[in-house]
């Protein structure tokens, strides 16, 4: 069969087309000829006749001329030049119209650029709306910038923000001259009984001046007055809007009604507005704190939160100095209790958002970097396009267009592009926020109010325009900075294709690689931390555990026996339910980030100096607790029935860390301890260590286990157990109702709340880490894709530019692998350069996120290596694909290409 490709190629030798396009045309036309040839053969022609028939189709020079004509550029509409003085509004309108036309003419370019920009701008808008709501928006209180929190500074024992004791608070109030007022808040929970199911309400007891200090008026009724904030005054309560609506149907007649809280009667005096969530969104009721004289004399029970309002003109530093002076005075006055105790003044805003701030700022930085990569990509696209438009520009400059005017034209185009990106980005941000809200852990304050407001819109507009200028300026200047005479000459090399244009594109690729490496490493570190955190052994098994709160009010049982019998009955009845393997109670379940501690004496050791007695975490449990939670006993024994009578000598089970800490190289079993806060009166006050259990991450997963002791409620009414935990043989939540009913059979007024599985508690405790990790991982993924697209684009362009060279090499016998190596090598050089810069930057920047990490250092070598390898792999693929295509080009065509 004749070589139709050769026939066609021969006839098109005068054609000057890009080699890939020419190869396509040759292939297509050769196919056509072959079909004609074959049809002739089928209809009975000889091979020679058939060949002649086919060749008649391409006789003469019609084909060459026709194709040449067809390939001529569709002429560009020149920018209308205004003559004489520039007319700004008209010019702008012209520019806009022209820019719009240019964008519509290249829909694929426009779509790619808009998507890249929209991803970048959308991510920025979404994260900025979170930052705006959580960090920037002032708190919804009067003179919010003057509100501060005041803490005891007990840094020596590891508590730089310790909740103050009432006596210290009273002294602070009396002695300071920097605050317009101070208010105290204490945790208070209420069992609401009477109408309907008993219910557990979280709430606070607060100073009467708290509401006026915050400047929040009640929705209906009134807040407390000073006389109600006295011990023995009539009991009054202010309800939250949510509780009022949910439980009392929003009836205004609620004011003046009385409710039974913890068995006492309280008169409702007011309802706060819906937006009032103070100190936290869980709070549903507030009562006066009404300190007794006993309380105001106590410097050992640290349980208050103190809010204060700075006097006008007083700075935070002045207030801190004053409070430090007062604290020093109290140290002198009360060395027993106040040794080393300072005071810390922290703005209320900082206190509320302090925890989440580093994560949010890092995310904001990360999306900024994503946007930079998007900019680099679009700049690259524009550079390539500017190269293609050289002749158009040259003609216009030759016709007298001012360069500044041309730059403005280019900028109009890029800003129009980025504004389009911004609009689409806004839609992405809107959807992203819906998603983000479902990821935001509940405990981030104000999370529910996050929305796109005017400030966010302003931010998006600013970012869009700035983005357009940033990625548009370089190509614009590039495009007009060339010798138009050269370009106008036939065959003149384009400025943007060689020399500086290529350099600029290479720089952009290097920058993209460097930035995405930083993001990827940041995400890698967070993922690494998260996996390690999730794999931390909490010290107990989380599966098949159902938990719930049963909080018994102090006022309910004044005698020990009925109090203790309540828990025993509950455990017995729950254990007898089908599907229940065992049940237990404890004061605070692990991972709830709360619990009690006690100072202790250790028999046989000298009395420590004041304020330096050993402090251990204390949990009051029922004997079945270790079994229910699958906490292994390491030595000694568990509580037995003998321990469950209020014996002369009590017994305690301790954690392995406590054993190691206080009885190193000794068997702790049989050793004795006593409570540090009680004077030692007789031998009966000693408590004997009977067993050692494995450590449990009591506070949170990330915190190492501290020394810990377990007592039983049958011996010590030190703290009342609040949590019921049930080990089940079946899916735990399926037993929720029957367990609750079992409790109600014993006490129909006992609220049962927070019913959830231990696995849910475990997952919740990781919510914040999961949130930052997911977001950063998403951004890093977007960055990786954008960078890969960028590398691919530049490589495609560079390979196309080097087709001639590749053709010569292949004609001279270079094999495909050698050519591939050459082309990929160029791309990889850029990637390696970016990698080196990125690694240096990452070394410097990841330190900023060390507070977010767990179990890995900010410069974890494994993460750095793995991520670098990932990026190299992706970059290699992105440069291999265009290089591979280059080797497919017909050498004959490539050689003619010039």
């Amino acid at each position: 069969m004749p070589d139709w490709k050769e026939e066609v190629r021969h006839r098109l030798s005068g054609l000057k087309l890009a080699p890939p396009r020419e190869a396509e045309i040759v292939e297509e036309l050769a196919q056509h000829l072959e079909e004609v040839y074959e049809r002739s053969l089928k209809s009975g022609a000889t091979e020679t006749q058939a060949k002649q028939t086919a060749l008649r189709e391409v006789a003469g020079d019609d084909l060459l001329k026709g194709i040449q004509r067809s390939q001529k550029r569709v002429s560009e509409a020149p920018v209308p030049e205004t003559s004489g003085r520039p007319n700004l509004p008209t010019d702008l309108l012209h520019d806009l119209r022209y820019a719009l036309r240019m964008l519509l003419k290249n829909p694929s370019f426009t779509i790619v650029a808009v998507i890249a920009l929209a991803l970048g701008i959308g991510a920025n808008t979404a994260i900025f709306s979170v930052v705006n709501t959580v960090l920037l928006r002032p708190l919804p209180y009067r003179d919010a910038d003057r509100l501060v929190t005041v803490w005891e500074d007990d840094s020596r024992r590891g508590f730089p923000r310790e909740t103050p004791a009432a006596a210290n608070y009273v002294d602070w109030c009396d002695q300071n001259r920097v605050f317009d007022g101070m208010a105290a808040i204490a945790d208070a929970g209420f069992n609401l009984t009477g109408a309907g199911d008993p219910e557990r309400l979280e709430g606070r007891s607060v100073s009467a001046n708290l509401f006026p200090m915050l400047g929040v008026e009640p929705q209906i009724g009134r807040v407390f007055n000073a006389t109600e904030d006295q011990p023995g005054a009539q009991r009054v309560v202010v309800l939250s809007y949510g509780l009022w609506q949910r439980r009392f149907g929003g009836e205004t007649s609620i004011i003046g009604k009385s409710l039974t809280l913890n068995g006492d009667s309280y008169t409702v005096v007011g309802v706060m507005p819906a937006r009032f969530q103070f100190p936290s969104s869980d709070d549903q009721a507030w009562v006066p704190i009404a300190f007794t004289t006993e309380q105001t004399g106590n410097r050992d029970a640290h349980y208050l939160q103190v809010i204060a309002k700075l006097k006008p003109g007083v700075t935070l530093q002045q207030a801190q100095a004053e409070m430090s002076t007062i604290a020093a005075r109290l140290q002198q006055q009360y060395p027993e209790s106040n040794a080393d105790l300072g005071a810390a003044v922290i703005s209320l805003h900082e206190h509320l958002v302090g925890d989440i701030k580093p994560a949010l700022l890092i995310l904001l930085g990360a999306v900024g970097l994503v946007l930079l990569i998007a900019c680099a990509n679009v700049a690259n696209l524009l550079l390539a396009r500017a190269a293609a438009r050289q002749k158009e520009i040259a003609v216009r400059v030759a016709l007298g267009a001012r360069r500044l005017r041309l730059i403005r034209q280019f900028l109009t185009e890029s800003v129009l592009l980025s504004t389009l990106g911004g609009l689409v980005g806004l839609a992405i941000a809107f959807l992203g926020l819906l998603l983000l809200k479902s990821f935001i852990p509940e405990n981030i304050s104000q999370a529910r109010e996050i929305a796109i407001d005017l400030k966010v819109l302003g931010f998006t507009l600013f970012v869009s325009v700035a983005t357009g200028v940033i990625f548009g300026l370089a190509p614009a200047i590039q495009a007009v900075r060339f010798n138009q005479i050269e370009t106008l000459k036939e065959g003149g090399r384009d400025a943007a294709t060689g020399g500086s244009g290529k350099r600029l594109r290479s720089v952009l690729v290097v920058a993209e690689v460097a930035i995405s490496l930083v993001l990827l490493i940041g995400a890698g570190l967070l993922i690494n931390s998260f996996l390690r955190l999730r794999n931390v052994d909490p010290g107990f098994r989380t599966d098949n555990l159902l938990t719930m709160k049963i909080v018994v009010p102090e006022s309910k049982y004044t005698e020990f026996e009925p109090w203790s019998a309540f828990y025993t009955d509950v455990i017995q009845r729950v254990q007898s339910l089908p599907g229940v393997r065992s049940a237990a109670v404890i004061t605070n379940l692990p991972l709830y980030r709360q619990g009690n501690t006690n100072s202790i004496r250790i028999e046989g050791t000298p009395e420590p100096p004041p304020g330096q007695a050993p402090v251990v975490a204390t949990r009051v449990i029922s004997p079945g607790y270790f079994e229910t939670m699958s906490i292994p006993l390491l030595s000694g024994r568990n509580f037995t029935d003998q321990d469950l009578v209020t014996a002369r000598n009590g017994s305690v089970v301790i954690s392995e860390t406590m054993a190691r800490r206080y009885w190193p190289n000794e068997d702790p079993i049989g050793k004795r301890i006593a409570f540090g806060f009680l004077p030692l009166k007789s031998d009966e006050d000693w408590i004997q260590v009977i067993g050692v259990v494995k450590d449990v991450r009591q506070f949170e997963l990330a915190t190492e286990s501290r020394p810990q002791m377990y007592l039983t409620y049958r011996q010590y009414a030190l703290f009342a157990p609040r949590d019921l935990v049930v080990k089940t043989d079946v899916e735990p939540t399926s037993l929720a109702t029957s367990v609750r009913n079992a409790v109600w059979e014993i006490d129909k007024d006992q609220p049962v709340s927070n019913i959830q599985t231990m696995e849910a508690i475990f997952a919740d405790s990781l919510a914040r880490q999961r949130f930052s990790m997911l977001l950063l991982a998403i951004f890093a993924g977007v960055a990786l894709v954008l960078a890969a697209v960028g590398i691919y684009g530049v490589m495609s362009y560079s390979v196309a530019q080097r087709t001639h060279e590749i053709g010569i090499r292949m004609a001279l016998g270079a094999q495909t692998p050698a050519v591939l190596k050459l082309a990929v090598g160029y791309g990889m050089k850029l990637v390696i350069a970016g990698l080196v810069i990125g690694l240096i930057a990452a070394f410097a920047l990841t330190r900023l996120m060390s507070t977010l990490l767990f179990g890995v250092t900010a410069t974890d070598p494994a993460t750095f290596t793995l991520i670098s390898a990932l990026l190299i792999g992706v970059a290699a693929i992105a440069s291999y694909v265009p290089a591979r295509r280059a080797t497919k080009v017909d050498p004959m065509i490539a050689l003619r290409y010039e």
Binding site: E24, E35, G60, Q71
Partner: protein, 117 residues
């Protein structure tokens, strides 16, 4: 023997209608160049015939204008072929060309009395 029409008129008629013909043929389904050429010849019963040298430049021009778009398509057991399909813009152009062609033909018919006026 019928009178031969002038070659100039023939060529101009062909030129004026060629775009319309190609756009119409790729309207419902993508077709490759050989197929298009064949169809024109078959459906016109041999009256209209495009050789390669006139067909492909026209296809490339239409593609350059963004009215049709060529794509390499590989089917099992066949070599790859370049199929052309109508773009959204091409659709509008086709509608406009059909309209003016119809008007033109009707006008010619009214003047020349080819149909019973």
């Amino acid at each position: 023997m019928p009178y031969k029409t002038s070659p100039v008129l023939d060529r101009e008629l062909k030129k004026g209608s060629a775009e319309l013909l190609i756009l119409s043929l790729v309207e419902d389904q993508p077709r490759h160049g050989y197929d298009i050429g064949n169809l024109i010849e078959r459906r016109s019963k041999g009256t209209l015939k495009f050789n390669l040298a006139s067909l492909y430049p026209l296809l490339y021009r239409l593609e350059k204008r963004g009215w049709i778009q060529g794509r390499w398509v590989e089917k099992a057991g066949q070599r790859r072929r370049r199929y052309y399909r109508l773009t959204a813009e091409g659709k509008k152009v086709l509608a406009a060309q059909r309209h003016s062609w119809r008007e033109f033909v009707e006008a010619i018919n009214r003047i020349t009395g080819i149909e019973n006026a």
